[in-house]
Symmetry: C2
Subunit: 479 residues, 2 copies
């Protein structure tokens, strides 16, 4: 039996999802609050998840030819001001540096909220001819947005992310790269985080400041709210014109480059918590679990038990692709069970004197709670097999939850009823007019999440105005 002490300390999801979330990030030791308002410490257990996310995404990026770089964290005000839509979108929420050392600065600098302007400045320097294209760069860094309300991982004044920025000779190539990276994101979400994603395009109202088109991967959290989990923007040549990023083409004429950018952030850790977690705490998909298998010795003071646990650990470690540990602290087994459940370790292996005598051990899956007795000789095979199975099952469980929380609305009454009674995605038709989008937001407090690539013809008319419909849209409350 799992010890209840740790577990009782967290609020149940049904009772108060927001409080449950906060309890989990604290109790699983992912986050600590700081005296710096709106900024957080990402603790070892949280940062280790981020490192696994980084490694996986970075490998996927490099397979598509991405090169990493590092650009300054400061943007001079005059540089930020060069692209009109962009500065309007970001100026209200940036932090300003006004003094360097003891002197006031001649021009104030903002701490980057995103780096389109700096990448334009850089590409302007290094792109001269068509031979210098494409430029396909990415950086891993932190950015700052002066948010008023903050929540661990989901919204903080400083957060970690990657931002890819590319420059291309043609509009077609830029659009292809924008969509290629969206595919990388959705594959990463499904394969690595076990989160099914809706791929689609943002409406003009919801797109990025300065973009021609913004594409998004949207995920549904356990409480039925949506989380924008990654975005990919096509800028056309708008930034290139504002910053003068030109190249000499093969025909010897001067042309503007076409640009894209795309990003994912530490909010993905929040997504993992809110998609997979339960009232016992975190549930990590094996691919991003810093510890995948925790071996818990029972009656560990009895002769041979700890040695057996270490031997099992060494056998699993020898496989080369299993992250395994022994919890040999002097806490009780029950306490250890609760603790490892709270931390989301995908699988625990219990080994005690009776198991040893029988040549067996007990595996307990974190995702289903299933207990599986296996013979000692099967350890390596069974653990390897189960790690693959758990990863797969967690995706299917999340997909089933999303599908059962996706609804359809044909008119405003249905639409309102849906969001007053239920929580999830609502699919509804839209005429494409921003007035209707505004009205829906005002009356239902929901936003358009995206116009999915997989369109369905639910009806012929806009859910709001009744005029001919142009797009099927996913609507939802969002983080």
């Amino acid at each position: 039996m799992a010890d209840k002490k740790l577990v009782e300390a967290i609020t149940s999801m049904e009772e108060d999802f927001a409080q449950w979330y906060t309890d989990v990030v604290k109790k699983a030791e992912l986050i600590d609050y700081t005296t710096v308002k709106g900024c957080m410490v990402i603790r070892p257990a949280g940062y280790a998840i981020w490192e696994l996310i980084q490694n996986d995404l970075d490998r996927r990026f490099k397979e598509t030819g991405v090169q990493n770089v590092y650009l300054p964290m400061f943007i001079p005000e005059s540089l930020l001001n060069k692209e009109k839509d962009h500065v309007e979108g970001f100026a209200p929420e940036v932090a300003w540096v006004t003094h360097g050392g003891l002197e006031p600065l001649q021009e104030r600098l903002c701490v980057r909220p995103t780096s389109e302007t700096l990448f334009c400045d850089y590409y302007k320097n290094v792109v001269h001819s068509y031979r210098d294209l494409p430029q396909v760069c990415n950086q891993w860094c932190s950015v700052v947005r002066w948010e008023k309300e903050t929540r661990p991982f989901l919204r903080s004044r400083e957060f970690l992310w990657q931002e890819g920025h590319t420059a291309h000779a043609t509009a077609e190539e830029a659009e292809a790269r924008t969509l290629q990276m969206l595919d990388v994101y959705s594959q990463f979400l499904e394969e690595t985080l076990a989160i099914p994603a809706i791929k689609g395009r943002k409406t003009d109202k919801e797109k990025f400041a300065g973009a021609v088109a913004t594409y998004t991967v949207e995920a549904l959290m356990h409480d039925g709210k949506a989380l924008q989990s990654g975005t990919s923007h096509n800028f056309g040549d708008g930034f290139a014109r504002a910053f003068g990023v030109q190249y000499t083409d093969k025909d010897n004429t001067l042309k503007y480059v076409h640009q894209t950018s795309w990003g994912m952030t530490t909010r993905l850790i929040g997504a993992v918590i809110m998609v997979h977690g339960d009232d016992s705490g975190l549930k990590l998909p094996p691919a991003v679990a810093p510890v995948q298998v925790m071996i818990i010795p029972i009656q560990q003071k009895k002769e041979g038990v700890l040695d057996k646990a270490y031997e099992m650990r060494d056998r699993l470690a020898a496989l080369g692709n299993v992250r395994v540990k022994v919890d040999d602290t002097d806490k009780s087994p029950g306490w250890k069970f609760s603790e490892q459940e709270m931390r989301g370790v995908p699988m625990r292996v219990e080994i005690g004197p009776m198991d040893m005598a029988a040549g067996k051990c007990l595996i307990v899956r974190r995702d289903t709670g299933e207990k599986i007795e296996i013979s000692d000789a099967d350890l390596e095979n069974k653990v390897s097999e189960l790690l693959v199975q758990i990863q797969k099952d967690m995706l299917e469980t999340a997909r089933a939850h999303r599908d059962s929380h996706t609804y359809v609305a044909n008119d405003m009454d249905e639409f309102k009823k849906m969001f007053s009674e239920k929580s999830g995605f609502v699919k509804a038709m839209w005429c494409g007019n921003q007035d209707c989008e505004d009205r829906i937001k005002e009356e239902l407090a929901v936003t358009s999440r995206c116009m999915p690539f997989e369109q369905e013809q639910i009806s012929d008319v806009c859910v709001c105005c009744g005029k001919p419909a142009k797009h099927m849209v996913y609507w939802g409350r969002s983080y």
Copy 2:
């Protein structure tokens, strides 16, 4: 023959070492200047070196039990002010954020120049009992110091680094960790960067603001100047007292923790350039070369040549630990030779129709220029063997250079003569009095680099005042 065009564009080292350095970082495409004064772009070729440095160091850290975390980039002024020596050391060179969005801040925040204060604030929250110790954390991030004079990699207003911060129950444990990390640094310098290091302790004048003791690894650049390449600080319980970081010990009494910090930065890339480079450009030790072997096809338009080059690449790539590419651009072979030399690729393999007919190819070492004809069947063995050999030889070459540029001074006349005629390390005895250190700095424009662990009794008296000597010190001009 290597094409001379690229090569002629860089200044010779003998003529003007500083200009040579700047030429190399630009021509090898490591760095680009930006409109953000004192800040630089680390370009793909430069950042790839940093990634290899990070991976190698991070693995070494983790082997000693280090866990990665991420703390905020902002430090409230009141927090920075808590430790007197520390704030005096850093306040004159920090950047201040005074506005968030459109509002002035109630308290200004500095952009971290280093994070001792934030780690104290964090440890104060998470350390309660002796069971919570030690805390052995590290973060990879960027820091800001408002330097007046900047140089690529060596000194810039923003730079990338790692900063380790630990908290321990006892003074002995803190001192042991400080020295352990210094060992990690010196092993990393020698084994990975092929740079021999002098390990020693800084004098009080040169130690870190707030430290009880600062240890350093000092390296000698090709021009005879010293570069502080990594430091490890023991803070005793000074910070703990200033910030109130206490724990309940086994005997139930409240005690202050003992802390350390240690860091290495992107200036290591500058060290690699200045230790190993020559008039043809960069020379990368294989361990940090993003491309270790460049295959250059000769007469590549002749049938079968490119296919042979790709086949050789695939055979080397199949070894799993060789980073290999084919330069199949339409530049001339001579141009490619120069370009790969400029970029420091450790080894090139030339393959043309005549080699193919003879079942041979030609390997050219970047470090020695040696040309080695081998049979095609030997490719994998010879390349693997040579990569190990080059790594080893580059260390020995650097060690020989350092040793032949290390001098001894017995009195001030000798000391002055040494630095007027030569450039390098000078070993001289010191009484331990800061007045002598100040006078030496004033008269010779050199600083004490460190009191090496390997002490030698050069004479009994201080080189400056003639009083009894306490320490043998390495002196030098430094970056």
